[in-house]
Point group: C2
Chain length 337, copies 2
């Protein structure tokens, strides 16, 4: 992608947040989680607001609209997708002992681990409550959406478990990476689009296409996140540089680099990871990953998933919402925003 195209898609995602659906989601989110003395609501507010791009809710809304659904009827469910996403972040920050999130103290740091456990659970329940909170929708669609979200949640947990088993294991990581990110990140993006389609009244073919679109975007999105350490600054990511090195997590660039590197470099890479000693070695790792071509290979794989996401959209009738979904897929491959 050229610089001009990349800038174009960064503008696109900012415009999307300011679009009618973006503004609706933002204002409804603030209305549903008001300032209050209730501590659970306070923690939820802290975790949810100020909201980011609301990418997942936007995808739910536009998936519904792409199949002829009425966006206002999907608003509550769309916000529920954000609750579930943020719930997983809150629990992840306990598990990974990450002190920072979006450049400020993570929920466990700000409120303690016991409160973070309860707040995460509360957001999970709130996601299902939001999904079941629209009397105007045919209720068989709601029940189908619940089944999809519950399965995605189970997949997320499987992905989390698999990732923990792969820490420090660059050998097994190569074999299991695709499955891990399909579960860890692909599953929720898949569900987000599938649920929008189901609630919007999609025919089975269109629902399956939107679900598959979502999964490919999610997988590409995770690879993009893996790439950020090699292409972005800590300021851009909101996380300390090299935090993936600190926790031994197998990211795609590292795995591809390990595959491609010469033996002495492979050994040093393992040692750096196992010692959690990124500090002085972070620069060396970064250079090795780039010089082995791993950054480019990972980027190629990300673009393959985006191409497959686009191919799924081709089965839908053209509409402004399909254009938005297409734009989101493009944006995923732009790494400077």
């Amino acid at each position: 992608m050229t610089v001009a195209a990349s800038t174009q898609y960064r503008t696109f995602i900012d415009d999307l947040a300011r679009s009618e659906s973006g503004r609706l989601l933002h204002s409804e989110l603030g209305r549903r989680w008001p300032e209050t003395s209730d501590q659970l609501t306070e923690i939820a507010r802290y975790a949810l607001l100020p909201a980011g791009k609301l990418l997942r809710p936007l995808m739910t809304l536009h998936a519904a609209e792409a199949v002829g659904g009425e966006p206002s009827e999907v608003l509550s469910a769309a916000l529920g997708m954000e609750y579930l996403h943020v719930a997983t972040l809150v629990h992840d920050d306990i598990i990974d002992a990450d002190a920072l999130r979006r450049g400020r103290p993570a929920v466990p740091t700000a409120y303690g681990i016991p409160n973070a456990i309860v707040a995460g659970d509360h957001l999970i329940f709130s996601a299902f409550a939001a999904l079941a909170d629209e009397p105007r929708l045919p209720q068989d669609r709601v029940a189908a959406a619940v089944a999809v979200l519950a399965e995605a949640g189970r997949d997320l947990c499987r992905g989390q478990m698999l990732e923990a088993q792969l820490v420090d294991n660059l050998e097994a990581g190569g074999r299991w990476y695709a499955e891990m990110i399909r579960l860890k990140t692909g599953a929720l993006f898949r569900a987000v689009c599938h649920i929008g389609a189901l609630l919007g009244g999609a025919e089975p073919d269109a629902a399956a296409a939107l679900a598959s679109y979502g999964e490919h975007v999610g997988v590409a999105f995770q690879i993009r996140d893996d790439l950020l350490f090699y292409t972005a600054t800590a300021e851009q990511t909101g996380k300390p540089a090299g935090s993936d090195l600190h926790n031994g997590r197998p990211t795609l660039p590292l795995l591809l680099c390990y595959d491609a590197a010469a033996e002495p470099d492979r050994q040093r890479l393992l040692t750096v990871l196992e010692r959690r000693a990124a500090g002085d070695n972070a620069k060396w790792v970064r250079e090795l990953v780039i010089s082995t071509g791993a950054v480019n290979s990972a980027r190629d794989r990300m673009r393959e998933h985006i191409a497959r996401a686009h191919a799924q959209l081709a089965v839908l009738p053209p509409s402004p919402s399909v254009n938005v979904l297409s734009g989101i897929a493009h944006w995923t491959t732009s790494e400077d925003s």
Copy 2:
């Protein structure tokens, strides 16, 4: 209750576990969580099996049957109630740092805190998956049941938060105790019966009566649990004696004792709680709670809730399932099982 009646209800609950519905629940639970090399399933099995009385699933089944529902159609949802209950135990054992559960290592002790967080989440998602997993049911009933379970889950979290805020606070505890156990324990029992009623096709009046029955049984059940320290051995509870004293939790007998005690005893009670120094003082606390009449007062309150639970059942047409629900309410007041 006389000794004879108490023995009768202990027999009743054992018989219930061996009844057709009890055996069906037990065998289906084992079938759905088989032995496997998958770590998430292994932890779920460890947490769920060997199953206890499966009180909540039995209540769901019999609530459904009491309003004319077909038990086999409610089986999956009934098991889901156990998943949610056990999920809260797994997360509670992290929060309370309880090392033992049912007389063996609790999940966080056996598998570590990160795995316990994920396993609890997985059981929550599995509860909703189980609820949405019966195509024979009218799907509007399923959607209504999801809304009830999600709200109950949110209440559980509120109750958990409230309990944490009341630790060591016997003054505020007295004011907030009823609300806390309504949220912490009453809400899930309420949902368990409400969901059975909804899935069984209950009319609104019958559904409301069964929901209210469940809440009163749940509240009575929590008071019974609070009383166990004063009436049962560690062997019977599966928890170290005095663990409530160790974590400063405000139980009803303690709160009533604090209300009734003379000033020097009140001060000593506060000091014992704050120092988490139950060991030598456990016997003194136990005797004070009994001598101030707090055990009897708590028991009276428990029986009031059971009487109100029975009153709710009176609106339903007589049936074997109503008899079972009535028996469960009676059993709750028997403290020796």
